[in-house]
Protein backbone atom coordinates (compact mmCIF):
# COMPACT_ATOMS: atom_id res chain seq x y z
CA UNK A 1 0.00 0.00 0.00
CA UNK A 2 2.68 2.48 0.96
CA UNK A 3 4.60 1.68 -2.21
CA UNK A 4 1.45 2.41 -4.17
CA UNK A 5 0.92 5.75 -2.41
CA UNK A 6 4.55 6.72 -3.00
CA UNK A 7 4.26 5.86 -6.69
CA UNK A 8 1.00 7.80 -7.03
CA UNK A 9 2.50 10.87 -5.33
CA UNK A 10 5.63 10.57 -7.47
CA UNK A 11 3.46 10.57 -10.59
CA UNK A 12 1.62 13.62 -9.32
CA UNK A 13 4.89 15.48 -8.78
CA UNK A 14 6.21 14.37 -12.17
CA UNK A 15 3.03 15.44 -13.96
CA UNK A 16 3.02 18.83 -12.25
CA UNK A 17 6.69 19.44 -12.97
CA UNK A 18 6.49 18.38 -16.62
CA UNK A 19 3.28 20.25 -17.45
CA UNK A 20 4.28 23.35 -15.48
CA UNK A 21 7.65 23.38 -17.26
CA UNK A 22 5.93 23.18 -20.65
CA UNK A 23 3.47 25.91 -19.66
CA UNK A 24 6.19 28.23 -18.35
CA UNK A 25 8.38 27.60 -21.37
CA UNK A 26 5.53 28.43 -23.77
CA UNK A 27 4.58 31.54 -21.81
CA UNK A 28 8.23 32.60 -21.81
CA UNK A 29 8.13 32.72 -25.61
CA UNK A 30 5.60 35.52 -25.57
CA UNK A 31 6.89 38.90 -26.65
CA UNK A 32 7.05 41.29 -23.70
CA UNK A 33 4.59 44.15 -24.14
CA UNK A 34 6.31 47.51 -24.36
CA UNK A 35 6.42 49.36 -21.07
CA UNK A 36 5.62 46.40 -18.85
CA UNK A 37 8.33 44.82 -16.79
CA UNK A 38 8.75 41.18 -17.68
CA UNK A 39 8.14 39.24 -14.50
CA UNK A 40 10.79 36.65 -13.77
CA UNK A 41 9.84 32.99 -13.96
CA UNK A 42 8.61 32.47 -10.42
CA UNK A 43 8.36 36.12 -9.49
CA UNK A 44 5.26 38.22 -9.36
CA UNK A 45 2.02 36.41 -10.01
CA UNK A 46 0.41 39.65 -11.02
CA UNK A 47 -2.66 40.97 -9.31
CA UNK A 48 -4.78 37.93 -10.11
CA UNK A 49 -7.28 37.30 -7.30
CA UNK A 50 -6.66 33.56 -7.40
CA UNK A 51 -8.10 32.90 -3.95
CA UNK A 52 -11.43 34.58 -4.70
CA UNK A 53 -11.62 32.73 -8.02
CA UNK A 54 -11.02 29.37 -6.36
CA UNK A 55 -13.78 30.16 -3.84
CA UNK A 56 -16.15 30.02 -6.83
CA UNK A 57 -14.59 27.29 -8.95
CA UNK A 58 -13.87 24.68 -6.27
CA UNK A 59 -17.41 24.61 -4.79
CA UNK A 60 -18.82 24.51 -8.32
CA UNK A 61 -16.68 21.48 -9.21
CA UNK A 62 -17.49 19.78 -5.90
CA UNK A 63 -21.27 20.24 -6.22
CA UNK A 64 -21.20 19.06 -9.82
CA UNK A 65 -19.08 16.05 -8.87
CA UNK A 66 -21.43 14.96 -6.07
CA UNK A 67 -24.53 15.48 -8.25
CA UNK A 68 -23.09 13.62 -11.21
CA UNK A 69 -21.76 10.73 -9.11
CA UNK A 70 -25.11 10.21 -7.35
CA UNK A 71 -27.17 10.54 -10.52
CA UNK A 72 -24.75 8.55 -12.69
CA UNK A 73 -24.52 5.66 -10.23
CA UNK A 74 -28.30 5.59 -9.80
CA UNK A 75 -29.06 5.58 -13.54
CA UNK A 76 -26.30 3.07 -14.30
CA UNK A 77 -27.50 0.65 -11.61
CA UNK A 78 -31.08 1.00 -12.74
CA UNK A 79 -30.19 0.31 -16.38
CA UNK A 80 -28.04 -2.70 -15.47
CA UNK A 81 -30.71 -4.48 -13.41
CA UNK A 82 -32.22 -6.15 -16.47
CA UNK A 83 -29.78 -5.90 -19.35
CA UNK A 84 -31.54 -5.83 -22.71
CA UNK A 85 -34.90 -4.90 -21.20
CA UNK A 86 -36.93 -1.96 -22.42
CA UNK A 87 -35.86 0.15 -19.42
CA UNK A 88 -32.22 -0.69 -20.10
CA UNK A 89 -32.43 0.17 -23.78
CA UNK A 90 -34.28 3.43 -23.14
CA UNK A 91 -31.82 4.44 -20.43
CA UNK A 92 -28.83 3.52 -22.59
CA UNK A 93 -30.10 5.75 -25.38
CA UNK A 94 -30.77 8.53 -22.89
CA UNK A 95 -27.32 8.22 -21.34
CA UNK A 96 -25.66 8.16 -24.76
CA UNK A 97 -27.46 11.31 -25.89
CA UNK A 98 -26.95 13.00 -22.52
CA UNK A 99 -23.23 12.37 -22.71
CA UNK A 100 -23.05 14.15 -26.07
CA UNK A 101 -24.65 17.36 -24.77
CA UNK A 102 -22.07 20.15 -24.30
CA UNK A 103 -22.36 21.48 -20.75
CA UNK A 104 -22.00 25.12 -21.82
CA UNK A 105 -24.91 24.72 -24.25
CA UNK A 106 -27.06 23.07 -21.58
CA UNK A 107 -26.11 25.98 -19.32
CA UNK A 108 -27.45 28.57 -21.76
CA UNK A 109 -30.68 26.58 -22.10
CA UNK A 110 -31.05 26.39 -18.31
CA UNK A 111 -30.60 30.15 -18.07
CA UNK A 112 -33.29 30.65 -20.70
CA UNK A 113 -35.70 28.37 -18.88
CA UNK A 114 -35.11 28.99 -15.17
CA UNK A 115 -33.86 32.57 -15.17
CA UNK A 116 -35.24 34.39 -18.20
CA UNK A 117 -38.63 32.63 -18.33
CA UNK A 118 -39.44 31.27 -14.87
CA UNK A 119 -37.24 33.71 -12.92
CA UNK A 120 -36.50 31.12 -10.21
CA UNK A 121 -32.75 31.42 -10.08
CA UNK A 122 -30.16 34.07 -10.88
CA UNK A 123 -28.97 34.06 -14.50
CA UNK A 124 -25.42 34.84 -13.60
CA UNK A 125 -23.03 36.80 -11.47
CA UNK A 126 -21.79 35.80 -8.07
CA UNK A 127 -22.26 37.25 -4.60
CA UNK A 128 -19.25 36.39 -2.42
CA UNK A 129 -19.78 33.75 0.24
CA UNK A 130 -19.02 36.21 3.07
CA UNK A 131 -21.82 38.53 1.93
CA UNK A 132 -24.62 36.01 1.59
CA UNK A 133 -23.84 32.28 1.51
CA UNK A 134 -27.34 31.31 0.43
CA UNK A 135 -27.36 33.63 -2.57
CA UNK A 136 -23.85 32.47 -3.44
CA UNK A 137 -25.01 28.87 -3.34
CA UNK A 138 -28.11 29.62 -5.40
CA UNK A 139 -26.01 31.15 -8.15
CA UNK A 140 -24.04 27.90 -8.36
CA UNK A 141 -27.10 25.65 -8.78
CA UNK A 142 -27.67 26.13 -12.51
CA UNK A 143 -23.98 25.97 -13.52
CA UNK A 144 -23.53 22.85 -11.38
CA UNK A 145 -26.55 21.24 -13.04
CA UNK A 146 -25.25 22.14 -16.49
CA UNK A 147 -21.96 20.47 -15.64
CA UNK A 148 -23.38 17.52 -13.75
CA UNK A 149 -26.08 16.26 -16.11
CA UNK A 150 -23.85 15.38 -19.12
CA UNK A 151 -21.20 14.09 -16.72
CA UNK A 152 -23.80 11.93 -14.96
CA UNK A 153 -24.77 10.47 -18.33
CA UNK A 154 -21.16 9.55 -19.08
CA UNK A 155 -20.67 8.08 -15.61
CA UNK A 156 -23.98 6.23 -15.90
CA UNK A 157 -22.82 4.54 -19.11
CA UNK A 158 -19.60 3.49 -17.37
CA UNK A 159 -21.43 2.17 -14.29
CA UNK A 160 -23.89 0.23 -16.40
CA UNK A 161 -21.20 -1.39 -18.46
CA UNK A 162 -19.12 -2.30 -15.41
CA UNK A 163 -22.17 -3.88 -13.75
CA UNK A 164 -23.20 -5.83 -16.85
CA UNK A 165 -19.63 -7.09 -17.23
CA UNK A 166 -19.61 -8.14 -13.60
CA UNK A 167 -22.78 -10.22 -14.01
CA UNK A 168 -20.96 -13.03 -15.74
CA UNK A 169 -18.17 -13.16 -13.13
CA UNK A 170 -17.71 -16.62 -11.57
CA UNK A 171 -18.14 -15.33 -8.02
CA UNK A 172 -21.63 -14.02 -8.85
CA UNK A 173 -22.59 -17.32 -10.44
CA UNK A 174 -21.33 -18.99 -7.27
CA UNK A 175 -23.33 -16.61 -5.10
CA UNK A 176 -26.47 -17.46 -7.03
CA UNK A 177 -25.67 -21.16 -6.73
CA UNK A 178 -25.53 -20.66 -2.94
CA UNK A 179 -29.14 -19.53 -3.12
CA UNK A 180 -28.95 -15.74 -3.35
CA UNK A 181 -31.28 -14.11 -5.84
CA UNK A 182 -29.59 -12.35 -8.76
CA UNK A 183 -30.44 -8.95 -7.26
CA UNK A 184 -29.20 -9.87 -3.80
CA UNK A 185 -25.97 -11.30 -5.21
CA UNK A 186 -25.48 -8.11 -7.18
CA UNK A 187 -26.11 -5.94 -4.12
CA UNK A 188 -23.90 -7.94 -1.79
CA UNK A 189 -20.98 -8.69 -4.11
CA UNK A 190 -21.25 -7.29 -7.61
CA UNK A 191 -22.03 -3.66 -6.90
CA UNK A 192 -18.87 -3.07 -4.92
CA UNK A 193 -16.65 -4.54 -7.59
CA UNK A 194 -18.36 -2.72 -10.44
CA UNK A 195 -18.14 0.63 -8.69
CA UNK A 196 -14.47 -0.02 -8.02
CA UNK A 197 -13.95 -0.43 -11.76
CA UNK A 198 -15.59 2.95 -12.31
CA UNK A 199 -13.57 4.56 -9.54
CA UNK A 200 -10.39 3.36 -11.23
CA UNK A 201 -11.37 5.21 -14.43
CA UNK A 202 -12.40 8.42 -12.68
CA UNK A 203 -9.22 10.45 -13.25
CA UNK A 204 -9.83 11.47 -16.89
CA UNK A 205 -13.47 12.16 -16.02
CA UNK A 206 -12.36 14.65 -13.37
CA UNK A 207 -10.11 16.40 -15.89
CA UNK A 208 -13.07 16.78 -18.26
CA UNK A 209 -15.24 18.07 -15.42
CA UNK A 210 -12.71 20.71 -14.34
CA UNK A 211 -12.14 21.92 -17.91
CA UNK A 212 -15.92 22.00 -18.40
CA UNK A 213 -16.35 24.07 -15.23
CA UNK A 214 -14.05 26.78 -16.57
CA UNK A 215 -16.16 27.07 -19.75
CA UNK A 216 -19.48 26.96 -17.91
CA UNK A 217 -18.33 29.79 -15.61
CA UNK A 218 -18.26 31.90 -18.75
CA UNK A 219 -21.93 31.24 -19.44
CA UNK A 220 -23.01 32.33 -15.97
CA UNK A 221 -20.60 35.25 -15.51
CA UNK A 222 -19.12 33.55 -12.46
CA UNK A 223 -15.88 35.18 -11.36
CA UNK A 224 -14.02 31.87 -11.07
CA UNK A 225 -10.73 30.56 -12.36
CA UNK A 226 -12.05 30.20 -15.91
CA UNK A 227 -13.20 33.80 -16.15
CA UNK A 228 -9.94 34.95 -14.67
CA UNK A 229 -8.00 32.92 -17.21
CA UNK A 230 -10.02 34.08 -20.23
CA UNK A 231 -10.00 37.73 -19.13
CA UNK A 232 -6.24 37.52 -18.65
CA UNK A 233 -5.85 36.12 -22.17
CA UNK A 234 -8.08 38.82 -23.62
CA UNK A 235 -5.98 41.56 -22.00
CA UNK A 236 -2.69 39.68 -22.63
CA UNK A 237 -2.00 39.81 -18.89
CA UNK A 238 0.69 37.14 -18.97
CA UNK A 239 1.44 37.22 -15.25
CA UNK A 240 -2.18 36.37 -14.43
CA UNK A 241 -2.32 33.71 -17.15
CA UNK A 242 0.79 32.14 -15.65
CA UNK A 243 -0.58 32.22 -12.11
CA UNK A 244 -3.96 30.80 -13.09
CA UNK A 245 -2.42 28.15 -15.35
CA UNK A 246 -0.09 26.92 -12.60
CA UNK A 247 -2.94 26.73 -10.09
CA UNK A 248 -4.99 24.86 -12.67
CA UNK A 249 -2.18 22.38 -13.35
CA UNK A 250 -1.89 21.57 -9.64
CA UNK A 251 -5.68 21.29 -9.40
CA UNK A 252 -5.91 18.89 -12.36
CA UNK A 253 -3.00 16.70 -11.29
CA UNK A 254 -4.33 16.78 -7.72
CA UNK A 255 -7.74 15.56 -8.86
CA UNK A 256 -6.13 12.68 -10.74
CA UNK A 257 -4.00 11.87 -7.68
CA UNK A 258 -7.04 11.79 -5.39
CA UNK A 259 -8.90 9.55 -7.84
CA UNK A 260 -5.94 7.19 -8.04
CA UNK A 261 -5.45 7.07 -4.26
CA UNK A 262 -9.17 6.47 -3.84
CA UNK A 263 -9.11 3.60 -6.31
CA UNK A 264 -6.06 2.09 -4.58
CA UNK A 265 -7.60 2.46 -1.13
CA UNK A 266 -10.87 0.84 -2.19
CA UNK A 267 -9.45 -1.88 -4.39
CA UNK A 268 -6.22 -3.64 -3.37
CA UNK A 269 -5.98 -5.28 -6.81
CA UNK A 270 -4.97 -1.93 -8.27
CA UNK A 271 -1.62 -2.23 -6.51
CA UNK A 272 -0.73 -5.31 -8.51
CA UNK A 273 -1.74 -3.64 -11.77
CA UNK A 274 1.79 -2.91 -12.96
CA UNK A 275 3.02 -6.43 -12.47
CA UNK A 276 0.58 -7.84 -14.99
Amino acid sequence: MTGYVVRAVARFVLTVVVTAAIALWLLGLAPTPVGSAQADLFGSFGSAPIGAALAVTLPLILIALILSAALGAGLGIWAARRPGSLVDRALRALLRIGGAIPSFWLGTLLVLLFSATLRWLPAGGFVPWQVNPLVALSSLILPALALALPQAARLGSMVRRALVDEKTAPYLVAAEARGLTADAAMRRHGLRNALLAVLGALGPQLVTLIAGALVVENVFYLSGLGRLLFDAVATRDLASVRAAALVLIVLLAGAVLVARLGAGWADPRVHAERKA
Binding site: R11, L14, T15, V18, T19, I22, A23, L26, L27, L29, A30, R96, I97, A100, I101, P102, F104, W105, T108, L109, V111, L112, A116, G200, A201, G203, P204, V207, T208, I210, A211, G212, L214, V215, N218, V219, G226, L229, F230, A232, V233, A234, R236, L238, V241, A245, L248, I249, L252, A253, V256
Partner: protein, 285 residues
Protein backbone atom coordinates in the same frame (compact mmCIF):
# COMPACT_ATOMS: atom_id res chain seq x y z
CA UNK B 1 -6.19 -1.62 -44.22
CA UNK B 2 -7.62 -3.73 -47.06
CA UNK B 3 -8.69 -6.22 -44.43
CA UNK B 4 -10.55 -3.53 -42.56
CA UNK B 5 -12.42 -2.59 -45.72
CA UNK B 6 -13.17 -6.23 -46.42
CA UNK B 7 -14.58 -6.63 -42.93
CA UNK B 8 -16.74 -3.56 -43.41
CA UNK B 9 -18.03 -4.91 -46.73
CA UNK B 10 -18.89 -8.36 -45.47
CA UNK B 11 -20.84 -6.74 -42.67
CA UNK B 12 -19.09 -8.48 -39.81
CA UNK B 13 -18.94 -5.10 -38.14
CA UNK B 14 -22.45 -5.31 -36.85
CA UNK B 15 -25.47 -4.58 -38.95
CA UNK B 16 -26.75 -1.60 -37.05
CA UNK B 17 -24.61 0.73 -35.02
CA UNK B 18 -21.64 1.16 -37.29
CA UNK B 19 -23.74 1.62 -40.40
CA UNK B 20 -26.10 4.09 -38.78
CA UNK B 21 -23.19 6.07 -37.39
CA UNK B 22 -21.19 5.99 -40.61
CA UNK B 23 -24.13 6.99 -42.78
CA UNK B 24 -25.12 9.82 -40.44
CA UNK B 25 -21.50 11.00 -40.38
CA UNK B 26 -21.36 10.95 -44.19
CA UNK B 27 -24.60 12.93 -44.48
CA UNK B 28 -23.33 15.58 -42.06
CA UNK B 29 -19.97 15.64 -43.81
CA UNK B 30 -21.76 16.11 -47.13
CA UNK B 31 -23.65 19.10 -45.71
CA UNK B 32 -20.30 20.51 -44.68
CA UNK B 33 -18.74 19.93 -48.08
CA UNK B 34 -21.72 21.46 -49.88
CA UNK B 35 -21.09 24.63 -47.87
CA UNK B 36 -17.75 25.03 -49.68
CA UNK B 37 -19.45 25.59 -53.02
CA UNK B 38 -22.93 26.66 -52.01
CA UNK B 39 -24.75 28.09 -49.03
CA UNK B 40 -28.21 29.69 -49.20
CA UNK B 41 -26.56 33.05 -48.49
CA UNK B 42 -22.89 33.99 -48.30
CA UNK B 43 -21.91 34.00 -44.61
CA UNK B 44 -19.89 37.16 -45.08
CA UNK B 45 -22.89 39.15 -46.24
CA UNK B 46 -24.20 41.30 -43.42
CA UNK B 47 -27.76 42.49 -43.79
CA UNK B 48 -28.44 45.10 -41.13
CA UNK B 49 -31.97 45.47 -42.44
CA UNK B 50 -32.95 41.96 -41.34
CA UNK B 51 -31.18 41.05 -38.11
CA UNK B 52 -32.41 38.37 -35.67
CA UNK B 53 -35.26 37.28 -37.90
CA UNK B 54 -37.39 34.31 -36.91
CA UNK B 55 -37.28 31.21 -39.14
CA UNK B 56 -39.35 31.26 -42.30
CA UNK B 57 -39.59 33.50 -45.31
CA UNK B 58 -36.42 34.28 -47.19
CA UNK B 59 -34.18 32.84 -44.45
CA UNK B 60 -35.34 29.30 -43.62
CA UNK B 61 -33.77 29.27 -40.17
CA UNK B 62 -33.74 33.02 -39.59
CA UNK B 63 -30.80 35.38 -39.23
CA UNK B 64 -28.32 36.21 -36.49
CA UNK B 65 -27.48 39.53 -34.85
CA UNK B 66 -25.54 40.68 -37.93
CA UNK B 67 -28.20 39.60 -40.41
CA UNK B 68 -26.29 36.50 -41.48
CA UNK B 69 -28.30 33.47 -42.61
CA UNK B 70 -28.37 30.91 -39.78
CA UNK B 71 -28.65 27.87 -42.08
CA UNK B 72 -25.56 29.01 -43.98
CA UNK B 73 -23.68 29.55 -40.71
CA UNK B 74 -24.58 26.08 -39.43
CA UNK B 75 -23.50 24.47 -42.73
CA UNK B 76 -20.14 26.25 -42.59
CA UNK B 77 -19.87 25.48 -38.89
CA UNK B 78 -20.32 21.75 -39.47
CA UNK B 79 -17.49 21.84 -41.99
CA UNK B 80 -15.22 23.72 -39.59
CA UNK B 81 -15.96 21.27 -36.79
CA UNK B 82 -15.06 18.30 -38.98
CA UNK B 83 -11.92 19.92 -40.41
CA UNK B 84 -10.56 21.12 -37.04
CA UNK B 85 -11.28 17.77 -35.43
CA UNK B 86 -9.83 15.78 -38.34
CA UNK B 87 -6.57 17.74 -38.34
CA UNK B 88 -6.37 17.40 -34.54
CA UNK B 89 -6.96 13.64 -34.69
CA UNK B 90 -4.32 13.36 -37.41
CA UNK B 91 -1.84 15.18 -35.15
CA UNK B 92 -2.81 12.96 -32.22
CA UNK B 93 -2.42 9.76 -34.26
CA UNK B 94 0.92 10.84 -35.74
CA UNK B 95 2.23 11.44 -32.20
CA UNK B 96 0.46 8.63 -30.41
CA UNK B 97 0.79 5.62 -32.71
CA UNK B 98 4.61 5.68 -33.09
CA UNK B 99 5.02 6.35 -29.36
CA UNK B 100 2.76 3.42 -28.55
CA UNK B 101 4.68 1.21 -30.95
CA UNK B 102 7.98 2.27 -29.36
CA UNK B 103 6.58 1.57 -25.89
CA UNK B 104 5.72 -1.95 -27.01
CA UNK B 105 9.03 -2.83 -28.65
CA UNK B 106 11.17 -1.22 -25.93
CA UNK B 107 9.89 -2.61 -22.66
CA UNK B 108 11.23 -1.39 -19.35
CA UNK B 109 12.30 2.20 -18.91
CA UNK B 110 11.26 3.58 -22.35
CA UNK B 111 7.84 1.95 -21.97
CA UNK B 112 7.38 3.48 -18.53
CA UNK B 113 8.64 6.89 -19.61
CA UNK B 114 6.24 6.95 -22.57
CA UNK B 115 3.42 5.82 -20.29
CA UNK B 116 4.19 8.65 -17.85
CA UNK B 117 4.28 11.16 -20.72
CA UNK B 118 0.90 9.93 -21.94
CA UNK B 119 -0.49 10.32 -18.48
CA UNK B 120 0.87 13.84 -18.13
CA UNK B 121 -0.84 14.73 -21.43
CA UNK B 122 -4.09 13.26 -20.14
CA UNK B 123 -4.07 15.69 -17.21
CA UNK B 124 -3.46 18.56 -19.66
CA UNK B 125 -6.89 19.32 -21.13
CA UNK B 126 -6.98 21.04 -24.55
CA UNK B 127 -8.50 24.08 -22.83
CA UNK B 128 -5.36 24.78 -20.80
CA UNK B 129 -2.97 24.44 -23.72
CA UNK B 130 -5.24 26.53 -25.94
CA UNK B 131 -5.35 29.27 -23.30
CA UNK B 132 -1.58 29.33 -23.01
CA UNK B 133 -1.07 29.34 -26.78
CA UNK B 134 -3.65 32.10 -27.15
CA UNK B 135 -1.86 34.16 -24.50
CA UNK B 136 1.43 33.73 -26.34
CA UNK B 137 0.41 33.96 -29.98
CA UNK B 138 -3.16 35.24 -29.92
CA UNK B 139 -6.22 33.04 -30.42
CA UNK B 140 -6.44 31.05 -33.62
CA UNK B 141 -7.51 27.84 -35.23
CA UNK B 142 -3.96 26.42 -35.41
CA UNK B 143 -3.68 26.65 -31.61
CA UNK B 144 -6.76 24.62 -30.97
CA UNK B 145 -5.85 22.00 -33.59
CA UNK B 146 -2.54 21.52 -31.81
CA UNK B 147 -4.11 21.61 -28.34
CA UNK B 148 -6.81 19.08 -29.23
CA UNK B 149 -4.28 16.96 -31.12
CA UNK B 150 -1.99 16.68 -28.10
CA UNK B 151 -4.93 15.85 -25.85
CA UNK B 152 -6.10 12.95 -28.05
CA UNK B 153 -2.56 11.57 -28.54
CA UNK B 154 -2.62 9.48 -25.30
CA UNK B 155 -5.66 7.55 -26.55
CA UNK B 156 -3.74 6.51 -29.68
CA UNK B 157 -0.65 5.75 -27.64
CA UNK B 158 -2.55 3.45 -25.31
CA UNK B 159 -4.53 1.78 -28.07
CA UNK B 160 -1.43 1.01 -30.11
CA UNK B 161 0.63 -0.25 -27.20
CA UNK B 162 -2.08 -2.35 -25.57
CA UNK B 163 -3.33 -3.54 -28.95
CA UNK B 164 0.13 -4.78 -29.93
CA UNK B 165 0.48 -6.54 -26.57
CA UNK B 166 -2.87 -8.29 -27.07
CA UNK B 167 -2.09 -9.25 -30.66
CA UNK B 168 1.30 -10.69 -29.80
CA UNK B 169 -0.34 -13.09 -27.36
CA UNK B 170 -2.31 -14.72 -30.18
CA UNK B 171 -1.39 -18.31 -30.95
CA UNK B 172 -1.19 -17.82 -34.67
CA UNK B 173 1.23 -14.94 -34.28
CA UNK B 174 3.48 -17.17 -32.19
CA UNK B 175 2.99 -19.95 -34.75
CA UNK B 176 3.99 -17.63 -37.57
CA UNK B 177 7.13 -16.69 -35.68
CA UNK B 178 7.97 -20.35 -34.99
CA UNK B 179 7.42 -21.16 -38.65
CA UNK B 180 10.18 -18.68 -39.40
CA UNK B 181 8.10 -15.84 -40.80
CA UNK B 182 10.15 -12.66 -40.80
CA UNK B 183 9.35 -9.73 -38.52
CA UNK B 184 8.14 -7.43 -41.25
CA UNK B 185 6.07 -10.18 -42.81
CA UNK B 186 4.44 -11.04 -39.46
CA UNK B 187 3.55 -7.41 -38.90
CA UNK B 188 2.11 -7.13 -42.40
CA UNK B 189 0.17 -10.39 -42.34
CA UNK B 190 -1.04 -10.63 -38.75
CA UNK B 191 -0.42 -7.49 -36.73
CA UNK B 192 -1.66 -4.73 -39.04
CA UNK B 193 -4.94 -6.45 -39.99
CA UNK B 194 -5.70 -6.77 -36.28
CA UNK B 195 -4.53 -3.31 -35.33
CA UNK B 196 -6.14 -1.28 -38.12
CA UNK B 197 -9.82 -1.81 -37.15
CA UNK B 198 -8.87 -1.04 -33.57
CA UNK B 199 -7.25 2.22 -34.62
CA UNK B 200 -10.17 3.04 -36.91
CA UNK B 201 -12.57 2.72 -33.97
CA UNK B 202 -10.33 4.99 -31.94
CA UNK B 203 -10.20 7.53 -34.80
CA UNK B 204 -14.00 7.79 -34.81
CA UNK B 205 -14.13 8.04 -31.02
CA UNK B 206 -11.49 10.77 -30.93
CA UNK B 207 -13.12 12.69 -33.80
CA UNK B 208 -16.16 12.96 -31.53
CA UNK B 209 -13.95 14.19 -28.68
CA UNK B 210 -12.36 16.70 -31.03
CA UNK B 211 -15.67 18.09 -32.25
CA UNK B 212 -16.80 18.63 -28.65
CA UNK B 213 -13.50 20.25 -27.72
CA UNK B 214 -13.62 22.56 -30.75
CA UNK B 215 -17.09 23.72 -29.78
CA UNK B 216 -16.07 24.46 -26.18
CA UNK B 217 -12.93 26.32 -27.28
CA UNK B 218 -14.79 28.23 -29.98
CA UNK B 219 -17.43 29.14 -27.42
CA UNK B 220 -14.89 30.86 -25.17
CA UNK B 221 -13.38 32.61 -28.18
CA UNK B 222 -10.11 30.69 -28.34
CA UNK B 223 -10.73 28.89 -31.62
CA UNK B 224 -11.75 29.97 -35.08
CA UNK B 225 -11.94 33.75 -35.29
CA UNK B 226 -14.63 35.78 -37.08
CA UNK B 227 -15.47 36.20 -39.92
CA UNK B 228 -14.88 32.44 -40.20
CA UNK B 229 -17.67 30.36 -38.70
CA UNK B 230 -17.71 27.37 -36.41
CA UNK B 231 -20.39 25.75 -34.30
CA UNK B 232 -18.70 26.94 -31.10
CA UNK B 233 -18.52 30.51 -32.39
CA UNK B 234 -22.14 30.33 -33.56
CA UNK B 235 -23.25 29.21 -30.08
CA UNK B 236 -21.18 31.99 -28.50
CA UNK B 237 -23.01 34.61 -30.56
CA UNK B 238 -26.35 32.87 -30.16
CA UNK B 239 -26.02 32.82 -26.38
CA UNK B 240 -25.94 36.61 -26.16
CA UNK B 241 -29.17 36.91 -28.13
CA UNK B 242 -30.87 33.75 -26.89
CA UNK B 243 -33.74 35.49 -25.13
CA UNK B 244 -34.64 37.35 -28.35
CA UNK B 245 -33.77 34.67 -30.91
CA UNK B 246 -33.43 31.18 -29.39
CA UNK B 247 -33.49 29.28 -32.71
CA UNK B 248 -29.79 29.57 -33.64
CA UNK B 249 -28.83 28.44 -30.14
CA UNK B 250 -31.10 25.39 -30.30
CA UNK B 251 -30.20 24.35 -33.83
CA UNK B 252 -26.48 24.97 -33.47
CA UNK B 253 -26.42 22.80 -30.36
CA UNK B 254 -28.49 20.07 -31.97
CA UNK B 255 -26.17 20.01 -35.01
CA UNK B 256 -23.24 19.60 -32.64
CA UNK B 257 -24.94 16.77 -30.73
CA UNK B 258 -25.84 15.06 -34.02
CA UNK B 259 -22.21 15.05 -35.15
CA UNK B 260 -20.98 13.70 -31.82
CA UNK B 261 -23.65 10.98 -31.70
CA UNK B 262 -22.98 9.90 -35.29
CA UNK B 263 -19.24 9.60 -34.70
CA UNK B 264 -19.73 7.84 -31.35
CA UNK B 265 -22.18 5.35 -32.85
CA UNK B 266 -19.69 4.53 -35.61
CA UNK B 267 -16.90 4.07 -33.05
CA UNK B 268 -19.01 1.83 -30.81
CA UNK B 269 -20.22 -0.17 -33.81
CA UNK B 270 -16.66 -0.79 -34.91
CA UNK B 271 -15.78 -1.89 -31.40
CA UNK B 272 -18.72 -4.34 -31.38
CA UNK B 273 -17.21 -5.99 -34.44
CA UNK B 274 -13.77 -6.45 -32.89
CA UNK B 275 -12.73 -9.88 -31.65
CA UNK B 276 -13.03 -10.31 -27.87
CA UNK B 277 -9.32 -10.02 -27.16
CA UNK B 278 -9.24 -6.51 -28.66
CA UNK B 279 -12.56 -5.11 -27.54
CA UNK B 280 -11.28 -3.73 -24.27
CA UNK B 281 -8.04 -2.29 -25.65
CA UNK B 282 -7.75 1.46 -25.43
CA UNK B 283 -10.48 1.87 -22.86
CA UNK B 284 -9.85 4.50 -20.27
CA UNK B 285 -7.39 3.20 -17.66
Amino acid sequence: MTDTLALLRTGRFGPSRFRIGAIATLVLLLVGFVSIVWTPYPVTSLDVGSVLQAPGGAHWLGTDQLGRDVLSLIMKGILTSFVVSAVAVFIGAVIGVPLGWMAKIWPGIPDRAIGALGEALLTFPPLLLAVILAAVAGPGVLNIMLAIGLSVAPAFLRTTRDGLVAIERLDYVAAARLAGTGRVETVRRHVLPNLSPLLLAQIFAQLATGVMAEAALGFVGLGVQPPASSLGLLLRDAQSYASVAPVPLLLGGLALIAIVLALTAAALGLRDGLPGYLRRVGDEP
